[in-house]
């Protein structure tokens, strides 16, 4: 039946024509509905109830249904609906709670057919069954929904929502028996028309009243709801629990929502208050409406697509007493006007942003004043000619690149790899790290490590060899190292004068760099003062920290490191886990101890013997006699760590934290530590220093950090025969009871490490494959693929 009607309309109205037009009504409209022939529209309101014919150029009033001398409240319509099967049948919902049906085929002037006065409060919505000729549904403020059979005098069944007022009822287009209702308290209920005792399903869709809903015309399970909370949500009702699949945020409470015909993801909305426009949204793009109709001067109260298979004509009625036909091609499209904007920071200090062209123009216009100092020195700004946002409003994409060499991060990578963090006595660790730092030219860091050794290594623990070795030019010969102020005095003595100069210069340029990269437009003038006025007795740490930042932005070495950490190598431990062991905390240990990992540079560094004979400070025995307990310094050390972290060198902060362990941990609050750890790990991972990052995670004592290694360690595999996931064991499929992973060399089941070629996906025992590939470059399975093992 439905099919038939569609065919006829498709034939009859195949060429809908018209233009954007409007006509004045005598009174504000509350609702509109279209006849199935798409040639007539009915408008209803408190004091209007008329049928207009939609002609090529204008609306023509065809019939006034509001007859009689005394206007009755029965005619004060809150909603109107035209039957989609019968051109003569209409129903209205009156504000006084009456449901009225109208038969246009009646010969008399009064077309009123039947009157149902069963609801006690205003009826908010009426809805005809999409395929059944005589079934009408109503939802009222009194919290009840009633189903009427038009051949009978009263309702067939009553549905009680058991919650507050009903705002909308809609028959499902596909499911013959189903209808949805929305409520003032935010609930949506699904009912079976045959079962009035209880609803099939109920869920809370919105915060506050749900004013409207609409079933998707094609997609069986999709229901769009709009609420006072300014949202339109699209629900997938086919699943066991209603699932929110899309959400559109509008700027005002949503009064009506209607799916656009023939456009799967489009829906039209209008709002209840304040906003007068009609929007058509693409639900996949929830922030910018696809189209916007701005004709109305007061809130739009009713919208309807003119024809169920035509996507370009939209009709609307409004409180401003006009009826409009909108043509989609005349709509304003905000998307066209919106400029793609974005900002992203690259790993090596590159910065890209997209912004409106005019904005960029003014920015570069300002360049002579503010930017001339920074762009030529540190950044190369280039306009990307290949606009990635083709077809949209144009935005300029600007990329600021680092001048090669101006911000290398090689020190970071080197330091990360070579630092020793655990596994040896504290003194050795400190000495080793100091040496690493010194070799990289980071004297202040080296100095810090040395100081730490002095502070924390009690005489009994420090090997005497170390002490004997420490002979240097800074030796203050028996002067007891008392406490912090010595640091300051020693600075010129330890770092040579030239070095200090250099660091001054760097400090300055670095500040410039940071300023410009961070704020880009605002350019402070305090660079000179900051850079040049470093006093001679500037606190050691200050100079140090700023120098660090300089390195932070140096990409050249980091680039060269990358190839060493390409994917295949990293993939090994992962696969090893999948097949080999059940997920659990021991993983961590396994992983770190597996030969592949321990072969990494980081571990090698930590295991490598170290000579600690480079310390510049001589620590005489006199020092120990007047020595203060390490606790005395802990506050100072904490300050130092915070200082490093603030300067951007979390590496130092975390390294010291790990090396010193319990000695300082208690003095720094858990959250700060966690923050440092996560930042450092993030940095390490950006530089593909997976092993180091893993080590750091392992050594950290912060719970939140150490569990990073335990999260998502499981990777599920599918059976190679039946393609089902293998849940219990990695090598036997529960379904087809076959062993999934056979070794291509020995033809036995692989229960441990399984390695396979990414090209032909054949593989087997790690050892076997390794051996095989030593002798042959072809795949052991005989598939002819030239496998590579790296």
């Amino acid at each position: 039946m439905e099919k038939m009607s569609r065919v006829t309309t498709a034939l009859g109205g195949s060429a809908l024509t018209g233009r954007t037009m409007h006509c004045h009504l005598d009174a504000p409209a509350n609702a509109i509905s279209v006849c199935r022939d798409a040639a007539q529209v009915v408008v209803a309101g408190r004091s209007i109830f008329k049928i207009y014919a939609i002609e090529e150029e204008q609306f023509v009033e065809k019939l006034n249904l509001r007859v009689g001398r005394k206007p009755s409240l029965n005619l004060s319509c809150a909603d109107v609906v035209w039957h989609q099967m019968d051109e003569n049948l209409l129903a209205t919902a009156a504000t006084n709670g009456v449901v009225v049906t109208w038969n246009l085929g009646r010969p008399s002037r009064n077309k009123q057919d039947q009157l149902f006065t069963e609801h006690k409060r205003t009826v908010n919505k009426v809805c005809f069954h999409p395929t059944e000729a005589h079934v009408l549904l109503s939802g009222s403020q009194d919290g009840f929904m009633k189903c009427f059979d038009l051949r009978r005098k009263d309702s067939v069944s009553t549905f009680s929502g058991q919650s507050e007022s009903v705002r909308d009822v809609q028959f499902s287009i596909r499911d013959y028996f189903t209808f949805a209702s929305t409520f003032e308290n935010g609930n949506v209920q699904l009912w079976d028309i045959r079962r009035p005792d209880r609803c099939e399903r109920m869920f809370t869709a919105h915060n506050g009243p749900v004013f409207c809903c609409d079933w998707h015309p094609e997609d069986r399970g999709w229901l769009a709801t709009g609420g006072r909370d300014k949202m339109v949500k699209v629900w997938d009702m086919t699943t066991h629990r209603a699932k929110e699949v899309h959400c559109v945020q509008t700027i005002a409470s949503v009064a009506r929502v209607k799916w656009r015909p023939e456009c799967r993801h489009h829906l039209a909305t209008c709002s209840m208050m304040v906003d007068h426009n009609i929007y058509v949204w693409d639900v996949r793009r929830p922030f910018v409406p696809a189209a916007m109709f701005e004709e109305h001067r007061d809130v739009t109260t009713g919208i309807a697509w003119r024809h169920p298979h035509d996507s370009s004509f939209l009709l609307s009625g409004s409180k401003d007493s006009t009826l409009c036909q909108h043509l989609f091609r005349d709509a304003s499209q905000p998307v066209e006007r919106a400029n793609p904007e974005g900002l992203c920071y690259g790993l090596f200090g590159d910065l890209a942003f997209a912004a409106k062209e005019s904005l960029v123009a003014t920015e570069s216009g300002r360049k002579p004043y503010a930017g001339d100092r920074r762009h030529p020195i540190f950044f190369k700004r280039k306009l990307d000619p290949a606009e990635p946002f083709a077809g949209l409003a144009s935005s300029a994409l600007s990329i600021f690149e680092m001048e090669p060499g101006s911000g290398s991060m090689s020190w970071f990578v080197d330091t990360a790899e070579r630092y020793a963090l655990a596994g040896r006595p504290l003194a050795e660790l400190c000495d080793h790290n100091a040496k690493v730092a010194r070799e990289l030219g980071r004297n202040q860091v080296a100095q810090t490590w040395t100081m730490l050794r002095i502070i924390y290594c009690s005489p009994g623990l420090v090997p005497t060899t170390n002490l004997n070795h420490s002979m240097g030019k800074g030796s203050s010969c028996g002067l007891p190292l008392m406490n912090s102020f010595n640091l300051k005095d020693m600075a010129p003595g330890l770092g040579s004068e030239t070095r200090l100069d250099r660091s001054k210069g760097d400090t300055r340029s670095d500040t410039v760099l940071l300023d410009s990269s961070a704020t880009l437009i605002t350019n402070e003038d305090n660079e000179e003062t900051e850079g040049s006025d470093v006093p001679a007795d500037y606190l050691l740490g200050d100079v140090e920290g700023e120098e660090d930042e300089l390195y932070l932005l140096d990409p050249e070495h980091a680039h060269s490191e990358e190839p060493e950490y390409v994917l295949p190598q990293e993939a090994f431990p992962l696969r090893h886990e999948i097949v080999d062991t059940p997920p659990g905390p021991e993983h961590l240990q396994d992983k770190a101890d597996s030969p592949h990992v321990s072969g990494s540079e980081a571990d090698a560094a930590s295991l490598a013997p170290v000579d600690s004979s480079f310390s510049l400070i001589s620590v005489s025995h006199a020092l120990y006699d007047s020595r203060l307990p390490p606790d005395f310094f802990s506050a100072l050390v904490c300050d130092m760590l915070r200082f490093y972290a603030e300067q951007g060198d979390v590496q130092m902060a975390v390294s010291v934290l790990i090396v010193l362990g319990e000695r300082v941990r208690k003095d720094i609050d858990e959250q700060t530590q966690e923050h440092w750890y996560t930042s450092y790990i993030d940095l390490l991972q950006r530089f593909c220093l997976w092993n180091v990052s893993n080590q750091v995670v392992k050594l950290s004592t912060s719970r939140a950090v150490s569990c990073l290694n335990q999260a998502s360690t499981t990777l599920h595999v599918n059976c190679s025969h039946c393609k089902r996931p293998m849940s219990s064991r990695g090598w036997v499929c529960d379904r087809c009871h076959r062993c999934a992973s056979m070794c291509a060399v020995c033809h036995h089941v692989v229960k441990g490490l399984f390695v396979w070629c990414q090209g032909c996906s054949h593989g087997g025992h790690l050892q076997h494959i390794m051996k095989w590939l030593e002798g042959s470059s072809h795949c052991p399975a005989g598939c002819g693929h030239l496998c590579e093992y790296s």
Binding site: L73, T95, E184, R228, V274
Partner: protein
């Protein structure tokens, strides 16, 4: 005019109702005794309130959390008979006075003072004078409206209309306030002010309707406190029978046995429930019923000879005797019956065209975020609050009664619900109750203990407080609807 001459010193704090004044004029030697009641309310015996109070820890918690004065004031004590409601009340009041909002804190209290002054509610005025000073308000402002910035003074017009005849508010009033200029209001500020005004007008109704006593401890005497602490005439505070009143005993409810009165009400409710199912009044009939109710409300107060003094007289008395006139202009402006003007027929406010749920909420929440949710919760709470009891009867569905009260208040402000049969009001609300409702919502300062006592004699005090809450919220919503509708019209 005759305060100084006639009031003995002991009663100087209390205003005299005209009736007493008449008596006094005749016989100046009459001794006026101290009021008998102490406790939070002059109408409700102390033990009723306190009893309920001592058990309720929740209330204390709420007070600590939300009370602006930081103590259990009398309003809170009386409201705590309905702890559920109290929470949403305190929460919203706290939000509009203390939390983030467009207006500075002292301004909020000053607006509260202005609002309360419209009904000469010295209780609220005193409370907010203290708060005003505490939050750093300029003491000079308390000397009267001439001392405040023009901007606040401009609010006077809307305050006046909102308090007495909200239907007169038009978008021109709004435009005048928000028109750019030196003293203009931004829309969010205006909405905040309107919410405060409506809240305090309504609260004044509650204060008078429940006979809230002045706070016990007048330790702060900053010179701005009003001397006249309340408007209850001593004759009201004393027992009913002190002064013989012909008009009251002569009216229809005086003699009826109160018990059968209750039975009759229950009977009527039941009948209405059944009736609705089979018999339906015609549309014309419905309209007539609304008009009739509207018109009748006109005679409700004026028919009562006890309070039938000419308007001007009354206002003069009140204004001069109370000390609040400095916060208001045009003190003679009072409630005028919506239905009175036959010639210039004002359009009825159709509730369905501008409802709180659909329109008011969205607007208010948009301009003054979150207050919408709080008010929404409060309205919902008061409308749905029920213990399913009526006096001694249990398991009664009181929905009908609550709706009648709510809609009757709206009816007096000219708001009509299409889906309501106003015949029900006539059936359910007896004349004495109508008198009370009209007085509390329209001229709260004239409420007397006699009025409070004369309706629903079998009902518990907590139920009467419930009635007061309903009246208060209905009034607040009506004011808000008119004000917000004007703002909406200004926006479109």
């Amino acid at each position: 005019m005759n305060r100084g001459s006639s009031s003995p010193s002991a009663a100087a704090n209390y205003l005299l109702c005209t009736n007493c004044r008449k008596v006094l004029r005749k016989d100046k030697r009459i001794r006026v005794s101290q009021p008998l009641t102490r406790g939070p309310s002059a109408f409700i015996p102390e033990k009723e309130v306190v009893q309920a109070n001592t058990v309720d820890e929740r209330t204390n918690f709420l007070v600590e959390e939300y009370s602006t004065s930081g103590r259990l004031d009398n309003i809170t004590q009386v409201m705590s008979l309905h702890a559920q409601y109290l929470e949403s009340f305190l929460r919203s009041q706290f939000y509009m006075l203390r939390m983030d909002g467009p207006l500075p804190l002292p301004h909020r209290h000053y607006i509260a003072i202005m609002a309360a002054a419209r009904h000469q509610c010295s209780y609220l005025i005193n409370m907010h004078v203290d708060e005003f000073l505490k939050t750093g308000g300029i003491a000079e402002w308390l000397n009267g409206l001439e001392y405040v910035p023009q901007r606040l003074k401009n609010l006077n017009e809307i305050n006046k209309l909102l308090a007495h005849r909200p239907w007169l508010i038009t978008k021109e009033h709004i435009q005048k306030l928000v028109k750019t200029g030196e003293n203009n209001w931004s829309l969010p500020e205006l909405v905040h002010a309107v919410v405060l005004l409506a809240h305090y007008h309504a609260l004044a109704s509650f204060v008078f309707g429940s006979g809230i006593n002045p706070e016990r401890d007048p330790e702060i005497s900053n010179g701005f406190r009003l001397i006249s602490v309340n408007n209850f005439c001593v004759c009201d505070l004393a027992n009913d029978n002190n002064i013989e009143n012909a008009s009251l005993t002569g009216s229809n409810f005086g003699i009826v046995d109160s018990l059968s009165e209750l039975e009759a009400l229950m009977e009527r409710m039941k009948r209405l429930q059944e009736e609705r199912e089979d018999e339906e009044a015609s549309q014309e009939e419905m309209t007539t019923r609304f008009e009739k109710e509207k018109k009748e409300s006109l005679f409700v107060v004026s028919g009562d000879t006890f309070h039938s003094f000419p308007h001007s007289d009354f206002e003069d008395d009140m204004v001069i005797t109370s000390d609040v006139s400095r916060y208001i202009e045009d003190p003679g402006f009072g409630y005028e019956d919506f239905a009175r003007r036959g010639e210039e027929h004002l359009p009825t406010f159709r509730a369905q065209d501008y409802t709180w749920e659909n329109h008011g909420f969205s607007l208010v929440n948009r301009l003054y975020s979150d207050i919408g949710h709080l008010l929404d919760e409060k309205f919902r709470m008061v409308y749905n609050l029920t213990y399913n009891t009526m006096a001694t009867h249990e398991d009664v569905d009181t929905t009908m009664l609550r709706r009648a009260l709510f809609n009757y208040v709206h009816c007096m402000f000219g708001i009509r619900y299409d889906d309501y049969d106003y015949g029900e009001v006539n059936q359910l609300l007896e004349r004495s109750l109508k008198v009370y409702i009209k007085t509390v919502t329209c001229y709260p300062e004239r409420t007397t203990k006699r009025m409070y006592d004369s309706y629903w004699r079998q009902f518990k005090h907590s139920e009467k407080v419930h009635v007061n809450l309903l009246l208060m919220e209905a009034r607040m919503q009506a004011e808000l609807l008119y004000a917000l509708r004007a703002i909406t019209r200004h926006l479109t």
